[in-house]
Symmetry: C2
Subunit: 244 residues, 2 copies
C-alpha cells in the first residue's frame, strides 16, 4: 500500500442534480493520477436533491436554497472535509451567502473556468455560454470573465428557453436522447457564429447531452476544470494538468 | 417542488474502488424514478480509497480494513444516514465484523443478488461468478446461494489469476481497453461452458470492463441489484422494479 501523500479530504456539495454529482465524482477519480485505489483522494459527498431549484429561486421567487447549502456544508465539515467543491454552476450564485459560514475554503468552479480560459493558447477573446437562465441572468460568468478581459456571448431569449433549458430539463428527467444533443448543438453553433472561440458547457447537465465534438471550437466542461483544480490543490507534485 | 416521500438517507460506504463508487451512485440515480432533482434520494457518500486492499487482507495477511470500514460507518451515521450500502463485493467479508458496531442497517449486496437470482424465470439452477480471489476464497456467494439452492461455478485457478484478476487491476488502474473486455469475456464463456445460466459480475470493477452482451446468458451486476434494493426500500410505492 502506498502512503497517502495528502491529508486533504474533498467535500462535494452535490445533488444539484444527482446525476451531475455522480458524473462529477467520476471525473474527479479519472483526473487523479495513480495506479491503484490507494492513490485516490479521500472524498465525502453530500447529495441532497431535495434542495429547492436554484433557477426558480433566482428568477421566480421560489424557496431559497441557502439553508440546504449551509446544512450540506455543515455535514461535510463534520465528516472531516478540508475543502468544498460545488459541482453546480447556478448554485454559485449563493456562494457569497454561505462562504463565511461553512468554515472551509470553497474552490470556486466559475472562477476556475475563467482562469483556465485565460491560460489557453491561442488566446481566447470571446467565449460562449450555455447555462441555466438563472446562471445567465445573475451574470456569474460575466463577472469572472471580466477580470480576465474575455468577452461573453449568450444565446438569444428563444434559444435560451427552447433549446438550452429544454435540454437541461431533459437531462434532469433522464429522457435525453439525440434530440437533446441536436438542441444543444444548435445553440452552441449560434454562439460560434457570434464569434465564440470556445463554448462553456455552463450547467453540469449539459456535458451529459453535448458531445465534445459537437462544434468546431473547444467545449469547456466546468466540472472537469473543477476536478483538475482539486487534484492540483491536493497533489501539488503531480497530476491535475490543464491540458484537455 | 414535490414533497419528498421518504426520510431515508442512503449512506454509501465507498472508495473500494473510487471509480466503482461513482458508477454505483450513477446507477442509484438512474434506478430512481422521477422527473426532477427533487424526486431523488438524499445520499451521503464516504469514499476513502486509502482503505487497505480487501483481497490482500483476506489472502496475504495484509492490513485489516475493518478500522477504515468502522470509521466510514461512523461518518455516515453522523451525517444522518439511515441505511448503509457497501458497493464492494469483497468488503462484504468484513460485514460481520462491523454490522453490530455501525448502528445502522446494512443492505447486503450479496444477499440481495442471491435473492434476485432466486426470482428469475426460467429458474436459475447454476450461476457463474467472476470476482476477486478474495471474494471467491471466502465463499461469500456460495454461502448465500446455498440458501436458495443455486449451484455456483467458478473459474479455474489460471483463469482466475490471468483473466479475472488481471482485468480487475486494469480497471482499477484506469487502463482497461478491449483487451480487458476480451479477458473477461473469455472467463465468462468458460463459466457458461460449465453450465452457468447467468454470470455474476461479482466485483464492482467488472461491469466497467464486461459489456452486458458479452455472453449469451444474463450478466448480473450486483451494484445494480443493490441500487434497486435501496430504491424499493426507500420508495415502497413506486420504482426499483426487478426487471432488467
Amino acid at each position: 500500500m502506498s502512503v497517502p501523500t495528502t491529508t486533504e479530504i474533498i467535500g462535494i456539495l452535490g445533488g444539484m442534480g444527482p446525476a451531475a454529482t455522480a458524473d462529477f465524482y467520476a471525473k474527479l477519480v479519472a483526473a487523479t493520477p495513480g495506479a491503484g485505489d490507494q492513490d485516490h483522494l479521500r472524498t465525502v459527498i453530500w447529495s441532497d436533491p431535495t434542495i429547492p431549484d436554484r433557477t426558480e429561486a433566482l428568477l421566480a421567487g421560489g424557496p431559497d436554497p441557502t439553508p440546504w447549502l449551509l446544512n450540506g456544508g455543515r455535514v461535510l465539515r463534520e465528516a472531516g472535509a478540508t475543502v468544498i467543491a460545488i459541482p453546480c454552476n447556478t448554485a454559485h450564485a449563493f456562494v457569497p451567502r454561505i462562504a463565511d459560514h461553512v468554515g472551509l475554503p470553497i474552490v470556486h468552479m466559475i472562477g476556475e473556468v475563467a482562469r483556465h480560459l485565460s491560460t489557453l493558447s491561442p488566446r481566447i477573446h470571446t467565449v460562449g455560454l450555455l447555462a441555466t437562465t438563472g446562471t445567465v441572468r445573475t451574470g456569474l460568468y460575466q463577472e469572472w470573465l471580466d477580470h480576465f478581459g474575455i468577452r461573453l456571448v449568450l444565446p438569444g431569449t428563444t434559444s435560451q428557453d427552447a433549446e438550452v433549458m429544454a435540454a437541461i430539463h431533459a437531462v434532469k428527467a433522464g429522457t435525453h436522447d439525440e434530440r437533446t444533443t441536436a438542441l444543444l448543438t444548435r445553440a452552441a453553433r449560434r454562439l460560434t457564429e457570434q464569434g465564440a472561440q470556445a463554448v462553456i458547457a455552463g450547467c453540469t447537465e449539459i456535458p451529459l447531452g453535448l458531445p465534445d465534438d459537437a462544434v468546431s471550437v473547444p467545449v469547456i466542461d466546468p466540472a472537469l476544470v473543477l476536478a483538475r483544480a482539486l487534484v492540483r490543490r491536493s497533489r501539488p507534485h503531480g497530476g491535475g494538468h490543464e491540458d484537455e
